[in-house]
Amino acid sequence: MAGTSKVLEDFSDVYAPGPLALADWLIVAPVVWCILVGSVLLMLRKRTDVQPLIAIPALGVLALMTLGLLAHVVEGGTVTMTMGRWLPPFGISFTVDLLGAFFAATSSLVALAAGIYGRSDVDESGRRYGFYPFLMLIMAGILGAFLTGDIFNLYVWFEVLLISSFGLLVLGSERKQLDGAVKYAFLNLIATTLFLVATGYLYGLFGTLNMADIAIKASELRGTAPLMTLVTLYLLAFAMKAAAFPVNFWLPASYHTPRLVVSGLFAGLLTKVGVYALLRILGMLFPFERQELSFLIAIVAALTMILGVLGALAQNDIRRALGFLVISGIGVMLSGLALGSPAGLSGAILYAAHSMVVMTALYFAAGLGARLGGGFELSSAGGVYAQNAAMAGLTLMLFFSVAGLPPFSGLWPKIMLVKASLDVGAWWLAGSILVTGFLTTITVGRIWVLAYWRPAPDTGTAAAVSPLPVGATAALFGLVVITTAFGVWPEPVMALAQEAARGLLDPSAYVLSVFPAEASQ
């Protein structure tokens, strides 16, 4: 049972070797910065006019920090910072490898876009409800989850992001939002509780919560401890977070109810935190159990992507169709996890990063499109192209990207995943990825034809054409530039994802970073 993992003879071991290099402070800086700015904004919650003026530059600084962290990790490998000079496995460490840094950098770029977009999408009352403080705090939770090296800490960051997401979800407390929030809140609470159950078992079995320590001990305990039960529980908990079939029904019930910018942020980031946790725990800590479960994960992945996109096909509301497309994308990522090969995992990582940018941008585009086209209903909207061809063109690029058509970013991860599944003979998995891409093309093609291409229905009362807000358009444009740049010049990002997948499959560098003392012995 649980106990101290080793008896310390020499207390000097307990102290960290020395002060950290300045660059290593970048590990915690994003999280600390988010909480700091979030609390300042909370104090200024009545000054709704200054909130965006503080939050948007702060998000810019955050993006610089996480990009700096990514550069630091690319250059120097995995870095660890341990709190309170308690050496692991006792103290809480923040351990950042390439995967965490990559996701953190992508998500803070998305958050910056959301902050800018929110300036025009969130009205006075939404700001009074605390849009910007919640935005900063949800980023604290998301980045904390990406950067931590301790499983209980991961749970805590999940809770931080969850409670802020509740706040964002009910921004304005409309009837629809309360209805959606009830389903979202209860199901996500159950998922986090399952996560906590699994963590309780994990602690009982391993007596440690440090990921690097678990990675070492997992092979020792294999065969004697019920690791399969543990891993299956984690799979269920995180699949629920990531909205994989059959535990995905909270997502389409709630994602279309909040403000567009909130939907976009959620669609881009929250489900990917679930995917990240799956990659980290199943991919890195328990690769053997993941191997055993791979057929199950593959079936879940195929059903998630196909049923997700079929759901999207059946929707009349564009926002709800996008919600189902988020689910479908999760299926594609899970197929990479199911394969577990370097190519499969790097495809999943790449697809997750692509999806963070594209799904957020799609919601943003839908919001701007609805201003021009007269709503989100496919049956009544129309005429966006006639009013603003540039905006319609940007949206078409995003549609191409989400469907995986060249030359946009969805193509490369899908190629990697299809090739990886054909390599292991899983032709049906490759087939479902391709079929999903085809059905997605139909879905987004129909949205484009009906809501954008079709002339505006003649309702007699011509809708007053309001010019698009500059900030929101710029945010959308920025995200489209990112996805297009990655689509036409994928090599650096692909190399990054491959390196990150290698780090997952061979965690020795991760372990070395957490336990430098043991390496020298």
Partner: protein, 125 residues
């Protein structure tokens, strides 16, 4: 002691899942509260359950004796209690507000966000 606690945790889980299967928000809420307590007990049991030796390292030793209570689960549970308490408070308010706005606490009748019999998307141009 461990087996007794394990049975208790199992019983609490059963009750919680039974309540979760209900349609009414208020019963689901009670299920969430009970589940939270069950998980805390589970973590507690996963550490060492003992009350004989407090987790204090004597001056003559370097480490805890094996018979000592494990202080870490208590720290973990403390965190989990704080979190689940705040969640429970939020859900209570959310359930109450939903009841006020939607005039029902039955999840079957909460169809504002997903109305029954929605329009299908147009089949043609």
């Amino acid at each position: 002691m461990e087996s007794l606690l394990a049975i208790l945790v199992g019983a609490l889980f059963t009750v919680a899942i039974y309540l979760f299967l209900s349609k009414h928000i208020i019963r689901i809420l009670m299920g969430a509260a009970i589940l939270g307590n069950a998980v805390n007990l589970l973590i507690f049991t996963a550490g060492r359950v003992t009350r004989e030796v407090p987790p204090i390292i004597p001056a003559s030793a370097d480490a805890l004796s094996d018979a000592a209570a494990n202080p870490l689960p208590q720290a973990l549970i403390l965190t989990a209690i704080v979190i689940s308490f705040s969640f429970f408070a939020f859900l209570l308010v959310l359930g109450y507000r939903a009841f006020q706005e939607l005039e029902t606490d039955s999840s079957d009748e909460m169809r504002v966000a997903e109305p029954v019999g929605e329009q299908s998307p147009p089949a043609g141009y």
